[in-house]
Amino acid sequence: MNEKTILTAEGIFYSYDKKNPVLKGVDIKVFKNEILTLYGPSGSGKSTLIYILGGLLTQDAGKILYNIDDKKKKIGFVFQNYNMLNELTVFENCKVAQNIRSFDDDRQIFDYADKIGITDILYRYPTELSVGQLQRSAVLRSICGPVELVFCDEPTGSLDSENKKNVFELFFQLKEYVAFFVVSHDEVSKKYADRVLNMSDGIIL
């Protein structure tokens, strides 16, 4: 595996009902510090693929090789519906994410928050934030700790065009620290990507 490669997946098959395959032999590579956009219509298997690559699902067949040790600590997720812990402030959300990833550095949270532009909302609860602030907070949490790869599942799905643009600009700013594997059916996602892969009916075209 090339040292610039974070992961290589070959021949990934997956079916939810063991009858109709959602992924039909997907081969893919993700490189360090890149924004990789997987573009395709709803139902094409994009999300399923990143869940498998991120370890939230297990493939029926195929192999995945990670060029990172202790992948659980070095992989983050950003979801369409943010999935913040509403009982904790943004800062506490980030702190918990860091601790789960065996990391503890307040400075990192403040530095990233500064880059993302949400220092002023760090001590607010998710229920007090706008959708744009929520998505930025979710991005912040996803990269806290020793994270090297972030999977983003339709991260701009519920945002207006201004906020969509902001999120992708954010990925662009942060790619010097982490690689982003973005799944989207939004045209804007292509504009900021280093590489764009198209997916349809469980196959990468």
Partner: protein, 364 residues
């Protein structure tokens, strides 16, 4: 910092956050445990109060060890010693009569704190209940009928003292006299610590016919044993109630926080660490509930002790509700309740491993 320390920090932050923001959902199980502990403390204190009073009352009056014959033995721990006879007799006054246990002793000073009027010397000391039944007062002369062989002998005794032990059977059926002419056939020992009677019996009187106060008052002491069993049963029920209440609340908590569980799983948290969050919450619930129950229980016990609630004396051997905090049950119930709660929480939270991360993330 080790991985475990990092995880513990995450668990602590989550527990703190969940408790701070979801106080309402913790209220019910906390109150349930508090009520249980409160009830446990009050009930066991009343049971313990009856038991202690009964034991105190018996041992204040009845010889702690009765030895056949005249014993000259004296050893450390003995508070008082006397010689006595105990016979079935009949006592009569002004046409009324009653069958009694006649305790004829050479020294009546053992009555001590049980005396409510008069001086227990040179005459008869009569239980309060018996005096009311016969309508006898201090200074009256009683006729006591004893059987010597087959011949009934009647002898008059002046009532010099009234006593009240608190044990109905003693107060209504015992007449204590001081007959200097009679030959005494038994030795009565009273100890500094009556609970050591069994130990002293084995040590000093193993070869003589001797009976401890427990052996001589089996019916009454069995009551204490049954009371202990009742207290144990109450404790078991309350512990189970606390356990199931917490288990119920954890199940509810898990089902309503599926999404949070999914988020934590997606962040890479292990199932066992997520379990720790819920187990810690239930531990906090049980400790807070226990402390609230403890404060409530102790306040209630103090009030019951202060106000001396009246109870029917014909049914019970005391006329007020006796209370005495049972420290061993109170302390051990804390460890049992928290232990059971942690155990049941562990079993209940095992369902977390079965929760599908993606399904949980979709949960609203």
């Amino acid at each position: 910092m080790t991985n475990k320390r990092f995880t513990d920090k995450a668990v602590f932050s989550l527990v703190k956050g969940f408790i701070k923001k979801s106080r309402k959902s913790f209220k019910f199980p906390t109150i349930a445990i508090a009520i249980g502990v409160w009830g446990l403390i009050v009930i066991t204190s009343v049971v313990n109060g009856f038991d202690r009073l009964l034991i105190d009352s018996i041992t204040r009056f009845y010889p702690h060890i009765t030895v056949a014959g005249k014993s000259d033995l004296y050893f450390s721990g003995v508070k008082e010693k006397m010689f006595f006879n105990l016979d079935n007799s009949m006592v009569a006054f002004n046409g009324s009569f009653e069958y009694v246990q006649l305790m004829d002793c050479d020294d009546m000073s053992f009555l001590g704190s049980s005396v409510i009027s008069g001086q227990p010397e040179n005459g008869a000391a009569i239980g309060k209940e018996l005096s009311e039944y016969l309508n006898v007062s201090l200074g009256d002369e009683l006729t006591v009928f004893k059987i010597k062989g087959i011949i009934p002998i009647a002898k008059k005794y002046k009532v010099v003292s009234l006593f009240k032990t608190g044990v109905y059977i003693f107060d209504s059926k015992f007449l204590v006299i001081n007959d200097k002419d009679s030959v005494k056939n038994f030795t009565a020992y009273y100890f500094e610590d009556p609970l050591k009677a069994g130990e002293y019996k084995n040590k000093y009187f193993s070869y003589s016919p001797a009976y401890t106060w427990k052996e001589s008052n089996k019916t009454l002491t069995q009551t204490v044993e049954i009371d202990g069993l009742i207290a144990l049963l109450i404790t078991v029920f309350i512990v189970l109630m606390a356990g199931f209440s917490v288990s119920n609340s954890i199940t509810f908590s898990i089902l309503t926080r599926k999404k949070e569980i999914g988020i934590l799983k997606s962040l890479g948290m292990k199932n066992i660490d997520i379990q720790k969050v819920f187990i810690s919450e239930s531990l906090i619930i049980s400790v807070v509930g226990y402390l609230l129950g403890l404060v409530g229980g102790m306040l209630t016990v103090t009030m019951l002790d202060f106000f001396k609630i009246k109870i029917p004396s014909g049914i019970f051997y005391v006329d007020y509700l006796p209370v005495s905090l049972n420290l061993s049950i109170t302390a051990s119930s804390f460890f049992i309740i928290t232990g059971i709660v942690v155990f049941i929480s562990f079993l209940t939270t095992r369902m977390i491993s079965g929760i599908d991360t993606l399904e949980a993330l979709k949960d609203e």
